[in-house]
Symmetry: C2
Subunit: 122 residues, 2 copies
């Protein structure tokens, strides 16, 4: 994760906050349980992270009108801007991994890791 962290150190957000933004950017607004799952966060962590990010204006949090236990979290334009500004560099990092290993070995790695942790398939 070191290259990712280097990238993020310039943006003022953390690795976990980056994951939250990416998931929201890809899937649109999500309830907190789904968001925590897709961002690989435990719910207590997400609660805190969401509070921080709401404070920074990166996300909005709204309560479900029907089921008032539920909440939905959505990305704001400011949050989306962080994703956009770093999209190139982010893609480059993955491309680097692929280049270092070569296409075949890269796929092999994903396969082997997947076999060790069947629950983590994306």
């Amino acid at each position: 994760m070191a290259p990712i962290r280097d990238m993020l150190s310039d943006t003022g957000i953390t690795e976990q906050q980056w994951r939250v933004l990416r998931v929201l950017s890809e899937h649109g607004p999500l309830d907190t349980t789904t968001l925590a799952d897709r961002a690989s966060l435990l719910h207590p962590s997400l609660t805190r992270i969401a509070t921080t990010m709401r404070g920074k204006g990166l996300i909005t949090q709204t309560r479900d009108k029907v089921d008032r236990r539920r909440q939905f979290i959505a990305i704001t334009p400011d949050g989306q801007k962080i994703i956009d500004d770093n999209a190139d560099q982010s893609a480059r990092i993955v491309a680097d991994f692929r280049r270092i290993l070569g296409e075949d070995d890269f796929e092999t790695l994903l396969d082997l890791l997947g076999r060790l942790d069947p629950g983590a398939q994306d």
Copy 2:
């Protein structure tokens, strides 16, 4: 790491404390810089962890007579007991990984990961 954490939840120590004990058990007393490196911990983390573990009587910490900036940390009998009590189960977890993937694929995985992070060779 999930299987390791399950194992440790019974012992009252954390994953990082486990790594510290293992390194000390394998290499004998070490200075804190070397210990932090081998246990994959940053120095500030090691400082705190060492304080905790000293409180539990798992390690001892002594200052170098010659260079009084330096410290040496050693495992105590109580600490070694934790290693011994869990050695079987620990070996079994690695063996499980090897079994799931098969010998060849297991070696391949170690190789691929090593190529992505050349600094982390053991």
